[in-house]
């Protein structure tokens, strides 16, 4: 019996003894931080792809002090398919590209105008090296330019782009990252959605508005300006902070700026017979942050009445503006009202899922905004 055991054991040992014969050293990997995709439509090549490589030797360390060059290197190559471009990299770089630590992907407007997004993303979802957490951005600038901009605080432009959206609780105009997973969900749900936009402002990367992707042809249908992104965030209940400005137009006096503490949006589809309507109610608490109308006495009861009324009007206007954009101008439900219809009225949804775009355009939406003012800060100067 002993010998028989040995006969099994020896082949097993052989497998173990081979150890790390085909290992890859981490320094020899070409770790890619960002991908930029662009559309060329030339005779020789349809697409261009920018890969941002890490250059490990140029990463400043505490021992050597200052660095010699940038810690990243962009390589832009052209080809007819993404994988063929990636393989072309091997003709110019000795390090095989590795995408497991990809931080962001930037897609040009031109590409999304010409190719449906499901065709573009298909390869990246199929390949196992790409994670579902890679955020996607769209840009109207040249993709290569965006990825070559010296980042302000981070080491890599790729990280800078991705981390900008961490300020989601600072500004109403910043929306959450849209990653591969979200993108894929929208595509398999056949819903319209928005992609955050990045642009260049005085040689810095700046988050701007967003592009609307249609669920009909999966291409760009239109754009949202930065303040329209704010309205969209109120609707989608993703407001985590930011400011509401009451300007002279709304109050007839000096501007008042409020900071958002907490916000909650409820969307309730109401079905009467076969008539669907949607009640959208926003509840938020805000704080008086900046007041140019110094005459105001916040110690007098009822000081907040007018501010409350005006701020509600401002937000209601911005929400209604985005809703009318969605319903009238584009006829696309990128507001994700369909989620709530599906949850609350599954039967209705089953019946009208196919024609939701046209149904959605005619659904009356009642917007109700209710704010609470919770404070005015540490001092009120008169």
């Amino acid at each position: 019996m002993k010998r028989k055991h040995l006969m099994v054991l020896i082949p097993l040992l052989l497998l173990n003894l081979s150890a790390c014969w085909d290992s890859d050293e981490i320094e020899d990997l070409g770790i890619i931080m960002a991908i930029g995709l662009d559309f060329l439509d030339e005779e020789s090549a349809r697409y261009s792809m920018t890969n941002q490589y890490v250059v490990p030797n140029n990463i400043p360390s505490s021992q050597t002090g200052g660095s010699v060059g940038t810690p990243y290197q962009n390589m832009t190559l052209n080809g007819d398919s993404f994988l063929s471009i990636i393989r072309q990299n091997s003709l110019e770089s000795d390090r095989p590209p590795n995408y497991t630590h990809l931080k962001s992907m930037v897609v040009s407007e031109k590409l999304l105008r010409n190719e449906p997004i499901n065709n573009i993303i298909s390869f990246f979802l199929r390949d196992h090296e790409f994670r579902r957490t890679v955020p996607v951005f769209i840009t109207r600038e040249n993709v290569e330019d965006i990825l070559s901009i010296e980042p302000t605080k981070e080491m890599f432009p790729a990280v800078q782009i991705k981390e900008l959206t961490q300020n989601i609780d600072r500004s109403l105009n910043v929306q959450d990252n849209l990653d591969f997973g979200d993108l894929s969900k929208h595509i398999s749900d056949r819903s319209s959605f928005v992609i955050p936009e990045v642009s260049i402002n005085q040689n810095r990367i700046r988050l701007t508005g967003a592009a609307i992707i249609s669920n009909l042809d999966h291409k760009i249908a239109g754009w949202l300006k930065p303040d329209e992104v704010g309205g969209l965030k109120w609707i989608k209940d993703t407001v985590q902070g930011g400011v509401v400005t009451i300007d002279e137009e709304h109050s007839g006096e000096e501007p008042v700026i409020l900071e958002i503490n907490k916000s909650n949006t409820k969307i309730e589809p109401v079905l009467k017979g076969d008539q669907l309507s949607i009640n959208l109610s926003v509840n938020a608490s805000l704080r008086l942050a900046e007041d140019w109308n110094v005459e105001r006495n916040v110690f007098k009861p009822g000081w907040d009445k007018e501010i409350k009324k005006n701020s509600e009007a401002v937000v209601k206007e911005s929400i209604e503006h985005v809703i009318s954009l969605a319903q009238k101008e584009y006829g696309l439900d990128f507001l994700e009202f369909y989620t709530w219809v599906r949850i609350q009225h599954p039967d209705y949804w089953m019946k009208h899922e196919k024609e939701w775009n046209s149904k959605f355009s005619d659904v009356p939406v009642n917007v109700d905004v209710d704010f609470t003012l919770t404070g005015y800060g540490t001092q009120d100067i008169n």
Binding site: R132, K185, S188, P346
Partner: protein, 362 residues
Amino acid sequence: MNEKQPSLPIIIFLISTIIGVGIVTLPRQTALIVGQPNMWVSVIFGSIVAFLNACLIFMLIKRFPKQTLFDFAPKVVGKWIGKLFSLIFVMYAISISAFIIRTMSEIVNYYLLDRTPNSVVLAVLVLSCMYLVSSGLSNILMFFQLYFPIIISMFIILTILSIKSIEVTHLRPIFVNDGLELLKGTNTTFFSFVGYELIMVLSGYQTFTKWRCMTKIIGISLGSVCAIYVLFFILNIGILSIGELKVITFPTIEMAKTIEYQGFFFERFELLFLFGWIVTIFTTLTAYYYSALLGVCKIINCKRNICLNTLVGTAIFSLALVPSGITELFSSATYLNNLSYAALIGIPFILLVISFAKEKFQ
């Protein structure tokens, strides 16, 4: 025979055996059939069916204490038909082993070792299993107890890490009045509870005669597997959504890939899941391998030896290499399901009826 026999090793054996490929592929299969956010209810239905079937099997083995299926089948239906039944069961055990290890090797190929040939991954697994099986059932039980905490802690860690990315809207509405769809899904979910039938083999090692003890063993093992499956279904639906589940090849692994903590030094949590999961595949393989080997020994009336061991190992290994790709592999599951019906419900039912009838007429 001592009266007090520990049931914990048996429970651990059953849990380790039942959890297998189902946890990775079941969410997609169920989503394709049910396609509702409350499809995890199907899993509970599946476990109930499995429990009833396990009770049927228990009624059978209760009549033949200290005997395995391969021992009592010839006694009930005669030598040759009994051997045929044993052979069907052996074939079932071999094909289910081949199926799970092939699925595992495909996943290892996708996510871990993309340049290693399938056959090498399979050979490593089969060879190490061969070694474990050659040392007997009591060692196998011990091995399972050793790895059980690793498996369970992997599930717990993964759940804790991914719970924050659940989007509740994906899980709603919970109460949709389409029970028929859920029942249809039961046919699929039931097969992920396969593994409890091995009490027909364990019954040679330990006597099961009391209903109370048996319902406890079956109840706890099926119940905890059901809890783990429901939990992972909820995580899968909540993180990926139903529409996505239909198109992702291995949903649970993709779900593990969505775990991300900004600024944390460790990024690839799916590896954690894969390492734990490969152990569960290994335990499942060991259990079926052992049953097949025991069956072969009993059929040809000889002791367990290395030749038969190699024979069974080779059979599993070569059967696992038959499907040419992952699509063929998944479609071969239909044949496997039919074989399971025969081995799980058909054989025990026929044996039970005949043994009852024999008792009546004598």
